[in-house]
Amino acid sequence: MNIPTDLRYTKDHEWVRIQENMATIGITDYAQSELGDIVFVELPEVNTSVKKGGVFGTLESVKAVSDIYTPVSGVITKINDQLEDEPELVNQNCYDKAWMIVIRMDDPAEITALMDASAYEKYAGAEAK
């Protein structure tokens, strides 16, 4: 299981990359391998306000449709358009090319509630069993 140490993680298997007050969000390697081949990624529009714990998009795999949850509250400043035409990037490169949205955080303190790599490794490891 690939879990980069410079990222933060949620219990819903999203990763968060923090740069000042901006948070970039995607799904983890564990999540993509559990979902299987992703065939469609539905993302919100730029400038949408989102609340922590809310749903910001959906992932459609061959076998299921799953919601993607917002780890932090704020306003969406960027979305990854490329995923519309190349949803397979989520399977191929989930931590880099398959970033999904960027949120300008309302409250950067919210990130303290997120797991670091070692905590997430334990969490995902337990779930995998």
Partner: protein, 433 residues
Amino acid sequence: MSFTCETRASLETLLNTIGIDKKEDVFSSIPEDLLFKGKLNIPEPMDEEKIRRKMDFPVSGTIFAGGGIYRHHIPSAVDALTARQEFFTAYTPYQPEISQGTLQSIFEYQSMMADLTGMHASNASMYDGATALAEAALMAIRKKHVKKVFVSRATNPSYRAVLQTYLASHVDVAIIEIPFDPKTGRTDMNTLNETIDKDSAVFIQNPNFFGICEPMKEVSETARNAGMWGIVVNEAISLGILEKPGAFGPDIVLGEAQSFGNPVSAGGPLLGFMCVKKNLLRAMPGRVVGLSRDKNNTQSFCLTLATREQHIRREKATSNICSNQGLCALRAAVYLNLIGPQGLRDTALQCAFGARYLRDQLMDKGINTVFSGPFFHEFVIRMDTKKRKDLIKKGIVPGVDIQNVYPEIPDGLLVNVTEMNTKKECACLIEHL
């Protein structure tokens, strides 16, 4: 093989096979003076509708009622083909293993609807035009989070009523009627211009409920500022003559396709349709049949994009419709295949000509149309209730009474002419006025 069809090619094949040049040579052994040269004492050739009326219903009702459900000629082959046991079922079978014929017919229906409307994709059909409009509004709420749904008051009143019902639980979404110009009968563009923003969805019916063609170019220039906008087609036959709705750039085109091979009956069953732009494909409700290949690499058909639907997405599904109007859609597909593009155009032209003919006859009697806008095959006149009821007693239905749904048009009567209304029927109406 065909037993009755005589094309030039098949005739030549026959003649070549028996070794003669022209068909008269078959009778060359009969002496000239014994050959019958006169004209047979039988009636002139008749089209299917004339024969049907002669043999089946010698007295056809003189009916000018439309208003959302229309009488059109239905070739007998529609009944013959759709009543085949392989097709005729109350519940559409979708399993690709056993239903390739059904699935192919739905795929063809979708392809033709998408082509006729000029949109990217069509679903496998909806219950009727009214629910198609309501589902389109729900789509705008779900996908674009609109807070206002603008709908022209010149839209079929039943559609607006069903829209109210479907949106009743969306307390934060307002349905706003755009008034129509009492002179032209067209939707009031000024009101539309002033009120539209990204938080709104707009739906315009064309031709509208009064039969009037809306200024679609103007409409599109305003409506594209909305979060989502759609064109409602209440009379699918109009697609044979008017510019494709898709040409005006709407997000969605929806409506009623009963006119394609489905009888008026007692007001149903109807055939709703919905066609969308590519980017709304996954937000669209209803079933979709796709073209695929099976494991032997043979062309095959199966349901596709099913992840939008309830059995997978549960409460987040695009709609609770998980069926389609299978048999009615099949009738539409067979009908369109039988009449073809030219037939559809001819039908639409006959409707338009017929309506103008009756309008002129009425004007000669001093009865004018209420609205000045250009119309397709329906127009509004004024006729008091007593006169209308007298005509009905005589077996003439002069139109649909609309004064209850449009109190602002007292004595309003919506008169419709299709290819089914003969000159004789028009004369009959005029005579009894």
